[in-house]
Symmetry: C2
Subunit: 566 residues, 2 copies
């Protein structure tokens, strides 16, 4: 760690140019030392970052947790050499760590940035995600924290082809996020060749403008032009997000690779790196810092104060749809002022509208844009909120890759998919884990396992079996992960390894798999399992017709149990 | 089936207005009879469909398989009452089937349209997918079939918030798809209330225009305006796709629900339906047909003739990366002129570029837009091609919901995700199913199961175990679905139920689950399983470091086997 005492602050444009060269040199050095990484994608954006970090990003590098800091999100996460070179330049990562840690096992300087670093908000690398995440952060800033921080996002030009970028700009303008500034590094070259729009900045401009952004078009290597655009962009006025389109050159500064195909994601061999460093003016070790936030770090925003909770209660025997109970519980949780909710235009079905009606100021309609829905949740979590994002379960899959990346971010978010068979029960304070034994006796001959709607079928099957003199244990495995292995092993032991598992899901990767995985993983497993699941393409019909057709109804469960017990 | 002999053809605008009312009445009748469905979403688009089907859609309803037919895709699949009412109006579905089949179990008139109907190309219902699918159909028409058919798509306004819509328009203009016409039913109301842009057609216009479309703005209830726009749109001139923005009223024609919130996805109760039918002028049974295709149905396009194949061969001991072998095999398959390929801007990594270099006319670059990548494959399959769509496996998950819908379409497409551990082997003509026993003897004490990269670890582990005097069977389970149950049960029986499964994947829903599911599903299973899988968040490092950290390396496999055999 370099002491920041020596840091130059609020640097002039000449020094910004020097800093840009340093960022290029360090991007080359770090990727060559690692033997992998994306130096050319970093070099194109070095001038942008030098001006931003040296003159416009209001960030207290000694207090990365300060709620007053601006945010800096690399949507083009593969430019991690540039980001880490910035961290060196501001004095929070040493040159030694940069050179020996980058992309190495166990290091925090991973191939793509993750929040294991205190200056990184979200994991990026899968393109088209950083900007949608930033929309969530900016929503929190504008509507909940009411803090003047800005959210700066570095986007690549290739990722402008992702629909999620347009979902993000659409929501940014819908919610008037004047605190959001996307800087697009239009270096013309993707992984395998030219991007779709190459240097056609005018088309980018028309698109971003039609989606509601205020747009600047600049030469991304002219520090004065960059500075003017960023100075204007950083004034939070009006009600539009800002997009700065910067025409840049991939590999800028090293003539052997400038604007050449075939150099994406390739470090320079050592002797080539030497030539690059010479051409870039040699190694530098500037320590520079830009402006600090205008206001001192505030205490936790008042909006996050937590009030006492009174959760809804139900009487045994009440029949309440799970989604209705969700809406009621969510509305009750709203007493905690850190709870926010959002939905994909189906809040009257998921019953997120119970929350929306009670706390409209903390409800954000994301319309039919599920990638942005999940990304907004991630963004809210960055600011310390507890986001609940809901839609139909099938449509959550639209955001699969966003959920994957949220996991890499280790973001704390709650995703709720309704209209699916496997869902958390509505029994109090949302405990995850465990299972419930609903029927048990010493004479049990077989175990019936269900979840959600199939649980009711298991209970009905147990009644039918009882009439035949067969005693069945019934278990509600309401949490698939973590699964309650103890309850399952006890039941398997008590019923001679005879199990029927019924699920309204395809046989692969669901309840049945989880049960047999748990039992075989627990030790020697002596099992006879009848696994009832949906194996053909379902169509329209009544619930009962579809249950029968899928062979997961009470009658099928009872028949399977009889074949085991008999 | 109504005989089409009585059909009126090339109807005038007055009759088109009558037809529109019939479509409304039948949408009301069918949804009320089913007790579910979306009548109001159908009524808003009835004039659009009446003019289209009666005057512009060139379609031989007696020959739905004719390659000369225009295509009609309902991207707003929930307007199925309207689509099925069209099918009645052209005489291919009887009134009786419409009234007794819609949304009933076992009927082909499912809640959302699927290709079980010969006039439906793709399953829709999950919004934002029909237009991307249509881009694939239009690509096939323009570049491969070189046929003058047009692809008409009915979009909802809510789905314009999906990023995939903009991926589709972007590709439609990039590929100059003047044969693609999207008609957007801007009825202002989504499921739970107003859409994001309500009736702001000007913003829609600027967006669609900036994405390269020729745009018409019309009153969607003025048959003359509709007719003029469609007449112009159906001339395949220029190099732009067309977007017709139609301002409409949800529930149009029934004053009790027109433009009212709270009526999305709700059939009218019977007495209300009666009032609606009266206000709409009563039941009609017009049979109308529009123009037929200009040219007689052609034979299968020359482009699909199949040449002899010569697949690449490898010598035992050759080490060829699976993805390299994929590229080589794909290039060889290119001799079949029905094979087309597309990739998400990583063809130099997936080696789809081997095909692109050899058959550039049948390779389509989809850039970084994975939803459109999969949708294009679906669209090509509609025209009888064999599409291969590739990208990194992790990024295919971006298109999860498109893959799900492709399955509902039962589309025949090949999706190839590279840089994942589980992938089809490169041993000849791509057989799916089966497993390979690579090491076996009568003295085997334990079975080691791997796939992809972990297979090599299993083989190395078997060598280590041999040195300890432990004989291990090794199985390459290169196909997870369908899994080779016979080979697994034989191995389990031969090795006393002692299995080690190693996978470079999380423990849930992968190879290990598939193996234990297969064994427990096959009958009484007496198993002791050590399941080695990735259970923590991986980071950067070398392959070997990551294998060791995840505890799925040869040493870990050998240790697990020793603990079972000892």
């Amino acid at each position: 760690m370099v002491t920041p005492a020596a840091a130059k602050t609020d640097i002039d444009l000449k020094l910004a140019g020097e800093l840009a060269q340093q960022l290029r040199v360090d991007s080359v050095r770090s990727s060559t030392s690692a033997g992998s990484g994306h130096p050319t994608s970093s070099m194109s954006a070095a001038d942008l970052l030098a001006v931003l970090v040296g003159r416009h990003l209001r960030y207290d590098w000694d207090e990365p947790a300060s709620p007053a800091n601006d945010h800096l999100i690399f949507s083009k996460g593969h430019a991690s050499p540039l980001l880490y070179s910035v961290f060196k330049a501001v004095g929070v990562v040493s040159d030694d760590e940069l050179m020996t840690g980058y992309r190495r096992f166990g290091s925090r300087l991973e191939g793509h940035p993750t929040p294991v670093l205190p200056w990184v908000d979200v994991a990026t690398g899968s393109l088209g995600q950083g900007l949608p995440d930033a929309v969530g952060v900016a929503l929190a800033g504008k509507y909940l924290d009411e803090s003047p921080f800005r959210v700066w996002v570095l986007c690549g030009d290739s990722e402008m082809a992702e629909g999620s970028i347009w979902e993000a700009l659409d929501k940014a303008s819908h919610y008037k996020l004047s605190n959001l500034i996307a800087v697009v590094d239009v270096n013309r070259l993707g992984q395998r060749g030219p991007t779709e729009l190459s240097w056609d900045l005018e088309t980018y401009r028309r698109r971003a403008s039609s989606f509601g952004a205020r747009v600047f078009m600049i030469d991304g290597h002219d520090v004065a032009e960059i500075d003017r655009a960023m100075a204007q962009a950083s004034q939070i006025t009006g009600d539009q997000p800002t997009v700065i389109l910067a025409r840049t050159i991939k590999g800028r500064g090293f003539s052997e690779v400038e604007d050449r195909e075939g150099w994406h994601g390739k470090p320079f061999p050592p002797e080539m790196a030497e030539r690059a460093i010479i051409e870039l003016g040699g190694q530098r070790d500037l320590i520079v810092r830009g402006p600090k936030p205008d206001q001192p770090p505030a205490a936790a925003p008042a909006g996050k104060a937590i009030a006492a909770l009174k959760l809804p209660g139900y009487t045994v025997g009440d029949k309440v749809a799970t989604r209705k109970a969700y809406g009621q519980a969510l509305a009750a949780l709203g007493a905690r002022r850190d709870v926010v909710a959002m939905d994909g235009e189906v809040s009257n079905s998921t019953y997120a509208d119970e929350f929306a009606n009670k706390y409209p100021e903390r409800y954000f309609e994301m319309y039919i844009a599920e990638q942005q829905l999940v990304a907004a949740a991630v963004g809210f979590s960055v600011r310390g909120y507890r986001p609940f994002a809901s839609t139909f379960a099938a449509f959550l899959t639209r955001a699969y890759d966003f959920i994957r990346m949220a996991a890499i971010s280790q973001a704390s978010i709650c995703l709720v998919g309704s209209h699916a068979g496997v869902e958390i029960g509505a029994d109090g304070a949302f405990p995850v884990g465990g299972a419930k034994v609903l029927r048990a006796s010493d004479a049990d001959q077989v175990t019936l396992i269900g979840a959600g709607v199939t649980l009711h079928a298991c209970l009905a099957a147990a009644d039918q079996l009882k009439a035949d003199g067969i005693s069945a244990r019934v278990i509600d495995v309401y949490t698939v992960k973590p699964i309650d292995t103890d309850t399952l092993t006890a039941a398997a032991a008590a019923t001679g390894g005879r199990l029927v598992v019924a699920e309204d899901h395809h046989p692969e990767g669901g309840l049945g798999s989880a049960v047999v995985d748990a039992l075989t993983g627990a030790g020697r497993a002596d099992l006879t399992v009848r696994h009832l699941a949906v194996s053909e393409l379902p169509g329209s019909g009544t619930s009962q017709e579809l249950f029968d057709a899928a062979r997961i109804s009470a009658a099928h469960i009872a028949a399977a149990a009889r074949s085991l017990a008999g």
